[in-house]
């Protein structure tokens, strides 16, 4: 095992990784920006090095500063957490060149998974179900029509050059296709100077389901089952749970087997998450892979009993999966996570500032991951996640009851938090019944105005 590891991150995930290191007997080094001098990840590390001014680009994202800190602290490995440099293949390459172990997959794999079309093809080759669509650009409306027949309506036309909704059209019936094709083409040409379009199957009211995988550096891969992450707002997850009510034991086993094979083929290493959309007939379609630890990893830890961050460290240190995982990997109980953000619960405006009161819930089946504390300060430079509240119960009903109890005891004053929104969602009958998709939060907010 490593003697000394640097955590190139901040906030709750930095503390989470420091804790895992500490529990494995590894000496820890934190890095921090000038805005984070009084943070708990600095306080609770064995060593801490200031690497730059508050702006992330000048500190946490500053590769030379991070590497220099790693060199002067003489660490053997860097854990990147999530976000920041965690999916930066260049950073992983610089680590390699500097003889520092990057705790994550090799840069080649990160780069492959970072390019959407290549990732799709790699998955397709390994028989992972992907979102059907045109293999490239559609020259004419006629060609589009032929693809649409193959893919099945509804489909969505997207501008190759574009983004932000422009040059995008949902096509529900064949007769609408010619007009919508030309409208999208014209819009894309005007917006981007390039009218080229491609097509994907359009999923109405999809769910977001993701699978956790672990791969060691000896070719062994394991699937640690799925997480349900459909409760999100503008692609920011708010509530995650495991297992998903929608995934049958058979599907779990099949997808797990396919992914295990696939990860082996692409040479994946360390922890990763494969994200899918699920349509109303419970069909899964691959969308992307995250080549790092996920914010919502604690729900998987709760139901499997596997410490995913320790697993990352042990894999990076060369251990084999069969030494890390229990002899028989199985799920037990149900876990839910709420991401507590420092933001207004209706307007979602970020709320930086000083925390006056901070009462953290505890007790049976409640886990809190946070780097904040009473009189701690939330700087305006970084993301708004201030705590993760995880409830674990024998079943979903108990996990929900625990979460409602814990939310009511999580008292934060001095800043706005998303706690009231979470409380409202947990009171909602549709949520309780598991009836939701990725559009749930927007609809929920519309029908329950502030």
């Amino acid at each position: 095992m490593f003697r000394k590891v640097m955590v190139a991150n901040r906030g709750e995930i930095a503390l989470r990784v420091l804790n895992a290191c500490r529990e494995l007997g590894i000496r820890t080094v934190a890095v921090y920006s000038e805005a984070d001098r009084n943070s708990l990840h600095v306080r609770f590390a064995d060593e801490a090095i200031c690497i730059g001014p508050p702006r992330a680009a000048d500190s946490y994202l500053n590769v030379p500063a991070v590497i220099s800190a790693a060199e002067i602290a003489d660490v053997e490995a860097i854990h990147p957490g999530y976000g920041l440099l965690s999916e930066n293949a260049n950073f992983a390459e610089v680590c390699r060149a500097s003889n520092i172990k990057f705790i994550g997959p090799p840069p080649e794999v990160t780069r492959l998974m970072g390019e959407k079309e290549k990732a799709r093809q790699a998955m397709k080759k390994a028989k992972v179900p992907i979102l059907p669509g045109s293999d490239g650009v559609l020259a004419t409306a006629e060609e589009a029509r032929a693809w649409a027949e193959k893919v099945g309506y509804p489909v969505i036309l997207k501008a190759k050059a574009g983004g932000g909704g422009r040059g995008m059209r949902i096509v529900r019936e064949a007769e609408d296709l010619p007009n919508l094709f030309h409208a999208a083409f014209t819009e894309a040409a005007n917006a981007f100077g390039n009218g080229e379009l491609y097509m994907e199957k359009y999923i109405e009211r999809p769910r977001h389901i993701e699978f956790q995988v672990l791969a060691d550096e000896h070719g062994n891969v394991a699937s640690l089952f799925e997480r349900e992450c459909s409760i999100q707002r503008r692609h920011q997850k708010l509530i995650e749970e495991a297992p998903s009510l929608q995934v049958s034991a058979k599907m779990r086993e099949e997808i797990g087997r396919t992914l295990t094979k696939c990860m082996g083929e692409i040479g994946y290493q360390n922890a990763g998450t494969v994200e899918f959309l699920m349509d109303s007939s419970r069909q899964l379609y691959f969308i992307e892979m995250n080549t790092r630890i996920q914010v919502e990893h604690p729900v998987t830890e709760a139901i499997t009993g596997v410490d995913l961050v320790k697993a990352q460290l042990r894999i990076a240190a060369g251990e084999k999966l069969d030494a890390i995982l229990p002899a028989k990997l199985e799920m037990r109980g149900h876990a839910i996570e709420c991401r507590i953000n420092a933001e207004h619960p209706q307007r979602f405006t970020p709320s930086a500032g000083k925390i006056a009161v901070f009462n953290v819930p505890g007790g049976n089946g409640v886990r809190v991951d946070t780097a904040l504390y009473a009189e701690g300060v939330i700087p305006p430079y970084y993301d708004s996640l201030i705590a993760k509240l995880i409830a674990y119960g024998v079943d979903r009903a108990e996990a929900i009851a625990k979460m409602e109890r814990a939310l009511s005891q999580f008292i934060v004053q001095g800043i706005d938090t998303s706690i009231p929104l979470h409380e409202a969602i947990f009171k909602d009958a549709a949520f309780k019944a598991g009836e939701f998709d990725t559009g749930y939060v927007e609809r929920f907010l519309e029908r329950s105005p502030s």
């Binding site: 000038e34 001098r37 009084n38 200031c50 001014p53 800190a69 002067i72 003489d74 009189e375």
Partner: protein, 169 residues
């Protein structure tokens, strides 16, 4: 007020509060202090909270790093988090703009770029900080007399750490 004075004052005030003193005057040499507490506040409670605890007990920062780096010498100066207590008022600190290893001379065995008492021009190279195998020249950001070098050759340096104190011209 200097860092050390504030620390001294903190101890003084805590001491006074502990003993229920309401007003306090001192006249000792060139030092005169007069203090008067708010009646309703003087008995107050939480002197110490975690935020202040963190401030008053900063991390080992670069020293710890330095200590574990074979190349590093036992550093004399404190890290950025705990600026030297003995800095005179009116001195300017030249701080490190990057993380790395400090070298006071252009090559091993060569004479240092600057020494205490030297006059430096703004923009003059006064040190090298090695980061990722690159030697980065550090320039004075003010003209004046070098009073003290606050770090040692080979010492690990964090962002913002004071390197030299300079009396601006």
């Amino acid at each position: 007020m200097k860092q050390q004075d504030i620390e001294d004052l903190r101890q003084l005030i805590e001491f006074l509060k502990l003993h229920g003193v309401a007003e306090f005057d001192v006249d000792r040499g060139d030092l005169k202090i007069r203090l008067k507490f708010n009646p309703q506040e003087s008995g107050s409670a939480s002197l110490s909270d975690l935020a202040r605890l963190l401030q008053s007990a900063p991390q080992s920062v670069a020293q710890a790093a330095a200590a574990s780096t074979p190349a590093a010498q036992a550093g004399g100066a404190a890290g950025a988090a705990a600026e030297p207590a003995s800095v005179e008022a009116g001195l300017h600190m030249v701080k490190s703009p990057i993380v790395g290893t400090f070298y006071g001379s252009p090559s091993p065995g060569a004479a240092p770029f600057v020494a205490p008492g030297d006059y430096v021009e703004k923009g003059q190279v006064i040190a090298i900080i090695e980061a990722m195998k690159l030697m980065n020249e550090i320039e004075a950001d003010v003209s004046g007399e070098v009073v003290k070098c606050l770090v040692s050759n080979g010492q690990a340096i964090e962002f913002g750490q004071p390197l030299f104190s300079v009396r601006p011209a």
